[in-house]
Symmetry: C2
């Protein structure tokens, strides 16, 4: 089996299987699969290979594998590193094993590593429904910016997977959240199609805050936020009051992602960078999906 | 009509008409009613007299009134100043007019000024249901401390009244919140009766966070919190991990109230005071209701 490094740029509308438009940033991840001995390293650190192995098994790869993964973003910090990582692994593993798979099959394969990885395969604006995700608008459909305010440096207290289970099992709001997401999805697609930034921005903010509200209502409560998260929300509210069109979304972690037009990205990222507790601001744009590097 | 200064110590289980145990602190408020000319001042500043006038009308006081109110807490900042103020006014106005009213009638009267004022009349641990509140446990039933971390100095962006209406009308979680409160009330009374601090603390935290989650889910979203609010929540979580029994509750504003035993109040208030953005920490205890000063 040959070495197949792979680069993945994460999908930009991240619907979490729940119709939730989040994860609005570009991530890069490189994965090499080589069949020397069973091993999984992430940024040169050994990792538990069980989820990666499940993905290889499902791809029909029976051999032992050596998987090396490199991540440009902080790992397990709520910046979708496992989404981009497992999307990259699905594409790289299929190529390394010489398998021909459709984009839908690759997306379904990535999902076995991490649910949200399914939507990182197709690129552009993707919708994840059931087993796999599909692209609904290409990366060039709409030139937007996503200013990612990194509001904590360490790993999350509660992983996305455990957090989602806790909300599902104990939040009295979870059924209403899922129901709301079903209404939000067609509305989001319509606003995307019309390139309506105020409409999509307000929808993304409402939807993300309702996801966090669902988590807050869990037992025990899940507080994903840091002090800087709240400061970013207030700062974006104030920016809008002063005429700067920028809306927040927040994935299952403390980081705030501001949606804005390219010409506002400088003022928005400068404002977010000035907030105490914001370690960095990364400005991203719609990008392509998981693909093999030449 | 004679001058009737009145001192009110706010009720300690604040159920907001929704079964929500919050507002766990003592407030003092002095109100004088005198019938010289129609006037309403709060801390010597002229105020809109319409709500106070409605209360006087309902009490059967037809004369013009001069109302002077003094407040020990920041006004309109989410520290229940209107609850203690209107409770004081109801008791003072009835006395000034020479009316004999039962505690329930005084509670119902206070409610016309501010909903939460109804539960500030009886004192001790009070339950507000429908038109009026009643005391369920006396102030001496359980010696607890409430460490109020003041997390902002200015008035709230959205008043309690408008905020509650917005949640009711636009939050997809509101029906589930009300339903949950109906379950929480008997549970809270049982835990109070048993003086079960871990049980009541965890219930108060869950209930308060679900109220804030309901507000976050409104359209537009209501973010009552400040960065220091989140820092206090995390600090109390860490204190509990290290064996200090202290739980947060948060009224419709940014301030965090920590419940703890008297012997832990020093360590809890010191920890909260060390947090950036916490302007002050007030340590309170269960107290009596609205009463006339000698």
């Amino acid at each position: 089996m040959k070495l197949s490094p792979q680069e993945c740029e994460a999908a930009l509308v991240d619907l979490d299987g729940l119709g939730r438009p989040t994860g609005l940033f570009k991530a890069q991840h490189q994965t090499a699969v080589q069949c020397l001995r069973q091993r999984f390293t992430l940024d040169s650190r050994a990792e538990d290979p069980s989820r990666a192995r499940a993905l290889l098994d499902a791809a029909g790869i029976r051999q032992r594998a050596r998987i090396e993964s490199r991540n440009e973003f902080p790992t397990a910090a709520g910046l979708a590193s496992s989404a981009s990582g497992f999307a990259a692994l699905a594409v790289a593993a299929a190529a390394a094993a010489g398998l021909r798979k459709t984009p839908e099959e690759l997306s379904a394969l990535a999902r076995l590593g991490s649910g949200s990885a399914a939507r990182s395969v197709p690129g552009g604006w993707a919708v994840w429904e059931n087993e796999s995700a599909r692209q609904v608008f290409s990366p060039t459909h709409w030139d937007l910016r996503f200013c990612v305010a990194v509001c904590a440096s360490g790993p999350k207290q509660v992983g996305s997977r455990d957090g989602m289970r806790l909300s599902r099992e104990t939040s009295p709001y979870h059924a209403a959240f899922i129901e709301q997401c079903r209404r939000d999805l067609p509305a989001a697609l319509h606003l995307l199609s019309a390139r309506d930034l105020p409409g999509l921005g307000a929808l993304a903010e409402r939807n993300a805050l309702r996801m966090h509200a669902d988590a807050l209502a869990a037992d025990p409560p899940l507080v994903y936020w840091e002090p800087a998260t709240v400061a970013c929300l207030h700062a974006l509210h104030e920016l809008r009051s002063s005429g700067v069109a920028a809306w927040p979304t927040i994935d299952a972690g403390p980081h705030v992602v501001a949606l804005c037009a390219p010409e506002q990205a400088q003022i928005v990222s400068d404002r977010l960078r000035s907030i105490a507790g914001v370690a960095d601001v990364l400005v991203c744009a719609p990008a392509g999906g998981a693909h093999l590097l030449p």
